[in-house]
Symmetry: C2
Subunit: 227 residues, 2 copies
Amino acid sequence: MLQRVEALRHASPEEVRTLVRLGLPRAVEEDGFFFFQDDPAERAYILLAGRVKMIQVTPAGQQVTLRTIGPYRLFGAIGAVNPTATYPASAQALQDSLAWGIASSDFRRLLQNNPALLLDLTHMTTDYLREMQERYREMVTEQVEQRIARVVVRLAGQLGRRIPEGIELTFSRQDLAEIAGTTLYTVSRVLSGWEKRGLILTGRERLVILHPHALAQLAAGSLPPAP
Amino acid sequence: MLQRVEALRHASPEEVRTLVRLGLPRAVEEDGFFFFQDDPAERAYILLAGRVKMIQVTPAGQQVTLRTIGPYRLFGAIGAVNPTATYPASAQALQDSLAWGIASSDFRRLLQNNPALLLDLTHMTTDYLREMQERYREMVTEQVEQRIARVVVRLAGQLGRRIPEGIELTFSRQDLAEIAGTTLYTVSRVLSGWEKRGLILTGRERLVILHPHALAQLAAGSLPPAP
DNA sequence: CGATTGTTTGACACTCATCAAATCTCGTGG
DNA sequence: CCACGAGATTTGATGAGTGTCAAACAATCG
């Protein structure tokens, strides 16, 4: 099962067994936390089931979602390998979730003994860095509607379900707002607009993309926003 | 000299010699480019003299500065190690600059043969990732004046010069705007306000921080902006 | 069938980008 | 050494884009 984990592609069967032996399962129910920002990074996690969001909270209490994690993906690893030794963000379960927790020291030992794994981790980190740089630029230069479109397109590719009508996503307006860096009111207005234009169907904590292509154009800025 | 490079802390003298032998110097004059975004990442660079900014440009031509590089720091390395094999950003010289260029293949070979170096690179990458996550949150949640204060404080610590009156920085309003994600007009207004309050002195492509503490408070949000 | 939680919509305020134009600074060539 | 011109900066006027607040409505759950 753990073979599916992208971070363990180059781990030997024996190493995987060691990880299984050294790690321990951790279940967190919806809205619960795996860990909090600035806490000492004691473990790295591999998500086995559910969905987790990585968030930062401002002193004023406003939440920003940095990314959402799906099954078989690693999280908390930056804290585990970085000399700072604290988590840079909090990990909150979007649904009831189950993860395999590996002590940071074991994780670091594994990486030291297996350069191929370390290289994989470097690639994952640089990939994520690329993405953050892009999203940073988007945040600075693009308008809300375009940013929301990007978020929806990205989430669709990552966590969307194919259904007869199109692609289904289950996120509340609030969730989308925290990811796109806006408010739930603005998300609501934008989604209503898209629904009027026939691009999507909306529901409570749910939306269905009818025309992925049009949304992609909105995200790319090649289709003008509604008047 | 190359011992000062943080990325080569764990390189053996022999490896450093090899790098010197395999690499080649590259001088770029002010406003020139070391490389462009999306170009194949042929080399990683170590800056020896000058200053370089890493930028992304939007289709509309708007510039966003991701970070500024000072002497003895590595740049272009993400492109060199990432499987994408292209640069995620452009590197433009802020002043006449000189860098040592190492072919990506040589750089990767070095990393493969020396896991300690790879680990250093991972630490540098995760550090930068932390910073990008924070700046992303700041961009989403904070107002312009606070963001500009953050930029100035950060640049002061990184590239500021101590002079009798305080800390001197040489950046144009346009430079600061591209870093803070705003316009040169807004930067000008904000700096004028600070000067009226006696926090800084301003000049052409130059500012002097008189009260670093007050600026730090502005950056942290604990000092209210001007009325 | 309440109660809770999510969503919609309107009214309004406010930050900040945009545009225009004047002013300032510095380097260069006469 | 001064005048000129290019580029940097300031400042005002204006408006678009979004956040904020309030209130009503809808969906889901026990």
